[in-house]
Amino acid sequence: MSIWPDPTHLARAGEKGRLEEAELQVVDPAALQGDLPGDISPPPGQAKTGDRRERLLPRLADPDAPLLVVEGLTTHFRLGGQTVHAVDDVSFSLEDGEALGIAGESGCGKTTTALSLLRLLPSNAEVVGGSVRLFGIDLLTKSDKALQRYRWREISIIFQGAMNALNPVQRVGDQIAEPMIERQGLSKTAAAKRAGELLELVGIPKARRKAYPHELSGGMRQRAMIAMALACDPAVIIGDEPTTALDVMVQAQILELLEDLREKLGLSLILITHDLSVLAETCDRVMIMYAGRVAEEGPVGLVYGTPRHPYTQMLLRAFPDVLSGRRDLGTIPGSPPDLRTPPPGCRFHPRCPAAMDVCRTEVPPEVTFDDRVRVACHLYPPGSDGASRPLPTAVAAGEPT
């Protein structure tokens, strides 16, 4: 029997990700004072079992607004006296129950973007601009201590390579129970019981609660991490390359599990990966990043089917397609820029076969077209029809012209 209620009460009837007016709980403003309910622990001993998954929404929240809205996020690293512009003016939104994929080459800023949402950055990094609104509340204006309260309870993370992301000297069950005890005030026994139930949910026998991480296989460790991420019942789960370290069969199982949980629990998911095929399977929308900026973003089918941005096109060319005939895999000549001295204008212009003069000087504006695809490229200026401008096949394949 599932511990989670059927989340259809969150009105997923019809269009995904829209909240029904009726599901808004009326909130006592005095209790909230403009903060998210993440910091209101249930009275000790009262475990959140069975019942309705209550998500108290602040009165200020707009029921039509997306769950998470990121605007102009900019994050810099300080490296040996120089500034690395890791994330530059990145914006996106996440609807309730939606899965957004963030893709791009290594070093394009996808992980940094995700970590910036909760300011989980190393000490030499700093979010220098933008806003991150969860339920309408800007997290970036919160102090570190206040932000701590939202971690895991509203947004949790599944890191890449669970072997290192799990404490090697602590039992897996204890690690899953830990946030419930520390952050939600559950008793040790109640939390342990919940941890067992979570493990069952992700397909691990409850008895493995006592196991240490090194005693589990790679796939099971990743499942355990997923169970841990679910512990406090978050609104959003960020998966940072959750399947990259696994072999293909296990990868498929994990993705299936994530999809399953998404349906059952109405989770919203941000999936970060450099593997485009993974995104195609699990995500509703995809955002392609390059050198710290957004290149293209939109529904998966459209972005993959009719890619617009030259980078997207070349990226897709680089992935083999099982169904199509043999062809030469494309490569993108050159390498990503050094973000300490990013190129002026469009950061892709040094490698872009369609680069024009304006690309070297002006940052391309982000334009959203009618089919809800957003592109940042001078080939698609504001006011244009937004039709895809495919690169010549040879060029897209990276062959010398």
Partner: protein, 316 residues
Amino acid sequence: MSAAPLTVEGARRARWRLRLRNTRQFARRYATRRDGMVGAAILLVFAALAIAPTLFVGPLETVTTATGAPLEPPSLEHLLGTDEAGRDMLNLTVHGARVSMVIGLLATVITILLGAVIGIVSGFVGGRTDQVLMRLTDFFLVLPTFVLAIVLAPIILDIVGTDAEFFSIRATLFVIVVVIGLTSWASTARIIRSQTLSVRERMYVDRARVIGGGRGHIMRRHILPNVINLIVANTVLVFAGAIFTETTLAFIGLGDPFSPSWGQLLNAAQTAGAPGLGAWWMIVPPAFCVVVVILSFTLVGNALDDVLNPKAGLRR
């Protein structure tokens, strides 16, 4: 790289140019380490004192050429006071620098040679040899080597005879050098072995490209250059340890009463009852020098290690 002709001469010159560039880069990076620079400066001072002590304080005062009255506290005449035989402490301490540093240097050479050879051979050859050598190394790591040194020294002295001389160094000193070397190599061997193992991993890819050349050749020309960075950083730290051990051994009485290493001076102080008498000037100068030199070596060693063997910086 400029188009150097593909000759042996051209290749050699290219290698030297590369080494020069690397050295300059290294020097620049090292200069940013304040602790390393301070340590290096201090060591230079002591090296100067060790090389030419007579230049600074005149010849070594012996019991017969003592210039002051016994146990005089510091005064204008004797800046650091005198010992129980009336010898000027400043004179003794500066000359002590030479003895301590020379012993330290020689002992370090032995330690590094032993440790590096065993480490590289063990790591590279692997198999049975590796197992046996590692057992031996672990044994020496567990052993209270200091006690071993204390036990070994008199035995060797007995065998050799106290008056013998090796390379114009008195037997007592020579024995200390040998004993320190024999008992300190184990941790060096361990460190170098693990580095050799990781280099060997990389080597297996390159080995296909190594045309001819037996194991010895590979060890010398391929493994050694990659391990040398580690050896250099380790050498400095071993030097610190050698001075530490020499000082302690001399303090216990295994030193040479005629060559006043700092440990020997402290031994003399202890035997003369200086602490109880409050004769701090017999104790502080050599003690201060010992601590400062060991500290400087440690700072330099740590700085070298950071510069030569950078580990991944701040991760998540």
